[in-house]
């Protein structure tokens, strides 16, 4: 029989492990963000302080890797939802970045860029939570 005529669907639904990996990588990321903020506030200048402040970049790479894994492991609908969530997050962060800039030009106190980043992560996660917990 011609196998080429057999319908092929997208990859199967994501493994449970993939969703756990998202949760663990997010946990690691938020812990490192907390440590970085504490180090920035309380530690004296030096190599260790710089390392601790830069450490969240490593977990961001981990989170990105897990997100790519989830994306490749998902079926077409979940992929489209992830892409939509990423698009909405990117637009929101771009607008927030611009708003931050204009507020600063208007004389408002300078705000840390960590806030749009945290808001962006939060927004992205909130959009994907119903999918992750099968509430749709």
């Amino acid at each position: 029989m011609l196998d080429i005529l057999t319908p092929k669907t997208s990859p199967a639904k994501p493994h449970r492990g993939a969703w756990q990996a998202i949760a663990w990588s997010q946990w690691a990321f938020w812990c490192q963000v907390a440590v970085a903020l504490l180090a920035q506030r309380f530690m004296p200048a030096g190599g260790l302080r710089s390392a601790l402040i830069l450490a969240p970049l490593l977990t961001v790479a981990l989170v990105m890797g897990v997100a790519v894994w989830i994306h490749q492991d998902s079926d077409e609908y979940i992929r489209s939802r992830m892409q939509r969530a990423a698009m909405l997050t990117a637009v929101t962060m771009a607008l927030l970045g611009m708003a931050w800039c204009f507020f600063e030009l208007l004389g408002f106190p300078r705000l840390s860029m960590v806030w749009p980043v945290l808001l962006g992560w939060g927004l992205f996660c909130v959009q994907l939570l119903p999918l992750a917990f099968g509430k749709e």
Binding site: T9, P14, Y77, I78
Partner: protein, 70 residues
């Protein structure tokens, strides 16, 4: 696009999860297709047609064919 996936699934007595397993997709995908929030790819549409042993055009209809507004 309109479809009769929900009716066909009920005819076969399957849950959304069972249909999802047979199609090798997530339950959310089946739900989104049934509620017409998501239009499946051609490969998934063919897989659905193959599973229910019906021609693809008997399951999926363009909205203008059904007289629906959107």
């Amino acid at each position: 696009m309109k479809n009769i996936v929900r009716e066909l699934r009920a005819e076969y007595g399957w849950t959304q999860g069972e249909l999802a397993n047979r199609l090798n997709v997530s339950r959310q995908t089946v739900n989104a297709v049934e509620t017409e929030r998501y239009e499946p790819s051609l490969s998934l549409a063919f897989a659905i047609a193959d599973l229910f042993k019906r021609p693809i055009e008997a399951i999926f209809r363009a909205r203008y064919e059904t007289g629906a507004k959107k």
